[in-house]
Structures are given as C-alpha cells and as structure tokens.
C-alpha cells in the first residue's frame, strides 16, 4: 500500500474531505442561540427572569406607593384595584413592597453566586490541577458538604450576626462546595487531554495553561451551575430572612415578607402567597434556564 504511494511521492496534498465551506466566525455562538431558542423551558425561564429583573430595576418608577409609608386605614386589605396584591398589617402596599423586595433578593442572589463562584472556581482549579493540594482542599470541602447548606448558613449567621450582608456571606459560603466539586471534576478531565500535555511539552507555564487551556474548556459547566445556584441562593437567602436571620423589618426582602405574613395567615393570605409565589417563580425561572443552558452548551446534543 505504502509502496505504491511512495512512487507518487510528489503528489500534491489533497484532503479527502475538504472543509472549505465558509463557516461563520461565531458558529459556536449561533449554534448555541439556535439551541436555546428551540428549548421552550429556557425561553419560559428567561421570560420569567426578565420580568422580575425589569420590574425590580424599575421599582422606584413603577411602584404605586412609597415603600415604607404606613396607612392604618388601609391595613390588611385584600387585593383590589387600588392595592393590586393587597396591603399588610400597617397598610403598606404589598405590590410595592414586592417590587423593592425583588431588588434585595435578586442582588443577594447575584452577590452570593459571584462570591461563591469566585472562591469555588479558584479552589476547584487548584484542587484539580495541583494534585498534591487536592486531598487537603477536597477533605475540607467534604467536611463542609456534610452539613446541609441551610443549616450551615444558619450556623454562619449565628457566628457573624444577623443581617443582610452576613446572610449573603453565609449563603455564598454554603454554595462554595458545589462549585469546587464541579470545577475540580472538569479540570481533572481537561488536564489529562493531549492539548494540555502538548502545552506542557512546549514548556508553557502552569498559570498560562490554566488560563488559556483549562478555564475556557470548563466554562460551560460553570455557567450552568452558576445559573442553578442563583436560584438556590435566592431561596436560601429567603429562607434565612424567613427565619429572621437575614433582612430585618421593615426591609422588604421576599423571605422577610413571607415571614411577616405568616402571623396573619388566617386573615390575610395575600401577604404570604404573593411573595412566596415570587420566590417560587424566580427559582423556577433560574432552574429552567439552567437546564436549557446545560442542553445548549453540551457539545454532544445537536
């Protein structure tokens, strides 16, 4: 076989399957958008999230009443045209308070995910890449994981003290282990690939290998996890506030609204139902979007 080809040594290079079709530069992005658009769950999730993000952002403009103004004449009113979602025991408009509460809840989620993501990705990359440190980091993470995350968040708040910032830190810390585990696992598989080996054979420095070869290839699971953790963090933060460990009255965080409403559950169901519904919808939205992203970013699904 080879001998016959040897004779035609001066044959020009002809690729058996030429790929000279002009591929657009952002084929990856286009492909990704196509997949997302086909995923109904992701669309519904995005719409829900966009609704809450926009209404929270525009809260000062679209809120019909001042957020903390009390009006005892209107206390514990059911949903009506004047007060769409009713009023609380001090006559404050629930819709208004939910708009402002959304800002707190969403921001808490954002900060918690940012903090836990940064710490988690750093630790995960170190554990996955520098194998000697792996056992120490992972045993520490395993210890953290033995606590249910809400229980750990409560413990952290108990140490740091009650308050919004501390609740946020507590939620962030309790979300770190899942980031570490996911990132470490991905890094472990990427560091054994031949292109990382090729980079090492070239003498590329470790931090450059991490930055250029490993991080870009583990970014998909990180994005997916961050989306899912976003919802989880909002839920945890709301749970902490509900337990009275997070946002303090009169601060209108969603969890705190549910907490206040629970005392009036038999007289004013709207005080708990609507903030609770908001929490549920936002978490649902993030989960739907996260699942959609997972399917869209998975190279195997076409």
């Amino acid at each position: 076989m080879l001998k016959s080809i040897e004779k035609n040594n001066n044959l020009l290079f002809v690729d058996p399957d030429p790929l000279d079709i002009k591929l657009s530069k952002n084929s990856f992005l286009n492909n990704f958008l196509n997949k997302i658009m086909k995923n109904k769950g992701a669309i519904i999730g995005s719409v829900i999230l966009l609704f809450f993000i926009i209404t929270s952002a525009l809260a000062p403009i679209i809120a019909p009443y001042p957020v903390n103004e009390m009006n005892f004449d209107d206390s514990l009113q059911g949903p009506s045209l004047e007060h769409w979602l009713g009023t609380d025991e001090f006559g404050r408009d629930i819709w208004t308070r939910m708009l402002y509460g959304g800002r707190v809840s969403l921001l808490m989620g954002l900060f918690a995910v940012t903090i836990s993501g940064t710490i988690g990705v750093t630790l995960g990359v170190i554990a996955g890449y520098y194998r000697k440190l792996d056992i120490y980091i992972m045993q520490f993470i395993d210890i953290l994981m033995t606590f249910p995350s809400l229980l750990m968040a409560i413990a952290i708040v108990a140490v740091l003290g009650v308050g919004l910032t501390n609740a946020m830190i507590a939620v962030a810390i309790s979300a770190v282990p899942s980031f570490v585990r996911v990132v470490r696992g991905s890094v472990l598989s990427i560091r054994e690939t031949e292109y990382v080996e090729a980079a090492r054979a070239l003498g590329v420095k470790n931090w450059r290998i991490i930055g250029k070869h490993i991080l870009p290839n583990v970014i998909s699971p990180i994005i997916i996890l961050a989306t899912l953790e976003f919802g989880g963090s909002i839920l945890s933060a709301a749970a902490l506030s509900f337990l009275g460990l997070g946002a303090q009255p009169p601060n209108p965080e969603w969890g705190a609204l549910v907490y206040v409403g629970k005392s009036f559950l038999s007289q004013a169901w709207w005080m708990t139902l609507f903030p609770g519904l908001a929490i549920m919808l936002v978490v649902l939205g993030f989960n739907l979007l996260g699942d959609g992203l997972r399917d869209a970013l998975d190279p195997k699904s076409n």
Binding site: D15, K25, E194, K212
Partner: protein
C-alpha cells in the same frame, strides 16, 4: 563516532497501584522496565510493539511529561532526568512530541494562529505579534496548509489537516528531536501516506531526528532507519531496519514479521500465531517476559532474565537463544 543526540540508559517508569491504607503503593505497573537505546542525529528510530507494551509511556518519559522512576536520559550531553523545572522548560524547545489523536491534541477553544503563536511566544521566538504572525504563516505553509487557515478553529479541519497543525506546533520551536507517538494511526490510510511523507520532507529540510512510535509495521518500515521492538516494557530487539525485516532474531519479532501481509500472493508464509494474551504489566512473568507465549521456551527462560546481547555490531537482542552461556539449553 560522534556522540548520539539522545541516549537512554536503563529507563524505568513504574506506576504505583492499589494504594491501600496500610500497604502504601507496594504494587507497581512496570510500564517501562529498563530500556536502553540511543538515537543518532538525523536518524529515525522506530519503536513498535502491541498496545499496552509501554511505547507511549516511554516517549512521554523521555520528555518528562511522565516522570521516569529510574534511569538516565542524556540529550545533547545534558542529563534530562535531574533537570529542575526552569532548565527543563528551556530544554523543551529542543524535544517535541506529536500526538496520536489529532482530535484531542488541539485545544478546541483556540484558533490555529493562537495554538502556534503560543508555541512561539513560550520560547520568545519572534519579538512582536506581527513577526510571530508571519512565522505562523510560514509554519502553515511548511506543513502544507494555507496561511488563510490562521484564524480558524480546530473543528473546521479534517483529521489529516489537524495532524499537520500538530506537526506545525512541534516544529515551531525549532526542535532537534521529535517524538512521534503513533502520529498516523488515527488517520485514514490515504492521509497516512501524506502525513508520513510530510514527516520525511521536514526531516530533510529541517535536519530533524525522530523517535517514531507505531504499531503498524509497514509504517515503521517506511520511515525508520533503525527499529526497536518492545514487549511488556522492554526492548526485546533493536536493529537496523533491513536486518530486522530480513532476519528477525527474537521469537516475538519473528511472530510480528510473519504477520506483515505481502503483496506477492505466491509467497507462502509461515505465519507464527501467538497464543495467549499479553501478560499483565503489574505482574510480569518471571525470567523472560515473553516465555509464556514463546515456542522456543526452555526451562531457563522461566527463571533467568535475558541479557542484552549484541549479536553483530549495532544489533541487540534480549533472548537466551543467542546467549553463549545458555547455548546448551537450546541444542
């Protein structure tokens, strides 16, 4: 005779397995178990052997991508095994590797320009980005690709083209030695020939030296000057290409050679069919590793490790059959 470019002495790479709580890594996979050879400047040393015999581990151990357990690797008069990371990094430009799987050896998130540019900037070849781009374009031309491919991603290329990119990355840093780890076994046969010819062309124009690892005998025959046959972590026969194919000495080599198909249908071949499986490298047979499948087996093979015997100058074989000491046993 001038000094060889690379000389490997008694190289061993063992992997610990089964780390038990109270029995800390006493068990080893002996992937490479005492290999010695040398490569002269400008020649191609082919390494053949079946899957799992340690060919790739040997190649990676020479580059210290896997840390060897024991032995010495002299490259251009420098002992590689004891180099610290900084010196090793500098030396890396002199020894490069081309991988087997062109689909796994290129980062899917980097363009061809970035992949080759990284090789250049790591070793400060090309002062400015513009100069490097020029060099990258030259490299692409050298390996038979077009400079217009510079902004494309690996998934836009076919297997053969990807392997060319892998080769371009290896030659980008002006190496003296390239370890080619089964560089064509993942390619179609028609593309294989083209890539092999590219290797030959580059060897002539750039004065390269190759260690060419493969399991395809016809491929090794095509490219090599000398060939080493590996079995279970050891080189059992090391010889000139011509002599090896005409007159294989080691029983394992004989079995391999008998499996090479011939173009002439009239030649009746005595095919030697090996029975049994390759023994596990974690628990290799005593004595000669091949004795479990060897048809010339004698008692001595089961107990005594064969020595390396220089049958004629430059031709080594690890078999008792050619050892004067055991001549009596094989009468």
């Amino acid at each position: 005779m001038n000094q060889p470019l690379l000389s490997v002495k008694n190289l061993k790479t063992h992997f610990p397995i089964k780390k038990k709580l109270f029995n800390n890594g006493t068990h080893f996979i002996k992937a490479v178990d005492g290999i010695s050879f040398h490569v002269n400047k400008g020649e191609t040393l082919g390494i053949v052997g079946e899957s799992g015999c340690g060919k790739s581990t040997m190649g990676r151990s020479i580059l210290r991508l896997i840390e060897p357990t024991e032995g010495s690797i002299m490259f251009e008069g420098i002992e590689v095994t004891t180099l610290n990371q900084t010196d090793l990094r500098k030396l890396r430009s002199k020894m490069q590797i081309v991988f087997q799987d062109p689909y796994a050896s290129l980062n899917p998130k980097m363009t061809v320009g970035a992949i080759l540019g990284e090789a250049l900037s790591t070793h400060q070849l090309g002062k400015s980005a513009k100069e490097r781009k020029k060099k990258v374009e030259n490299l692409l031309l050298k390996v038979g690709l077009s400079p217009t491919h510079i902004g494309r991603y690996p998934h836009e290329f076919s297997g053969g083209q990807r392997q060319r990119i892998g080769i371009a990355r290896a030659i980008a840093v002006n190496p003296a030695l390239i370890i080619a780890d089964e560089p064509v076994s993942a390619l179609d046969v028609s593309v294989q020939a083209q890539v092999l010819n590219l290797f030959q062309d580059l060897k002539e124009t750039l004065g390269l030296t190759y260690i060419f690892i493969a399991h395809d005998l016809s491929v090794v025959r095509h490219v090599s000057d000398r060939i080493g046959v590996m079995y279970l972590g050891k080189i059992v026969e090391l010889s000139d290409k011509k002599q090896l194919f005409q007159n294989p000495l080691h029983p394992y080599t004989q079995a391999l050679m008998s499996a090479v198909p011939s173009l002439d249908p009239d030649i009746k071949k005595n095919r030697i069919i090996l029975t049994g499986d390759v023994p596990s490298a974690s628990n290799p047979p005593t004595g000669c590793a091949f004795h479990t499948r060897c048809k010339f087996r004698k008692n001595v093979c089961e107990s005594v490790n064969p020595r390396e015997i220089e049958v004629i100058p430059g031709r080594f074989v690890n078999c008792h059959m050619y050892d004067h000491e055991f001549r009596e046993d094989f009468k």
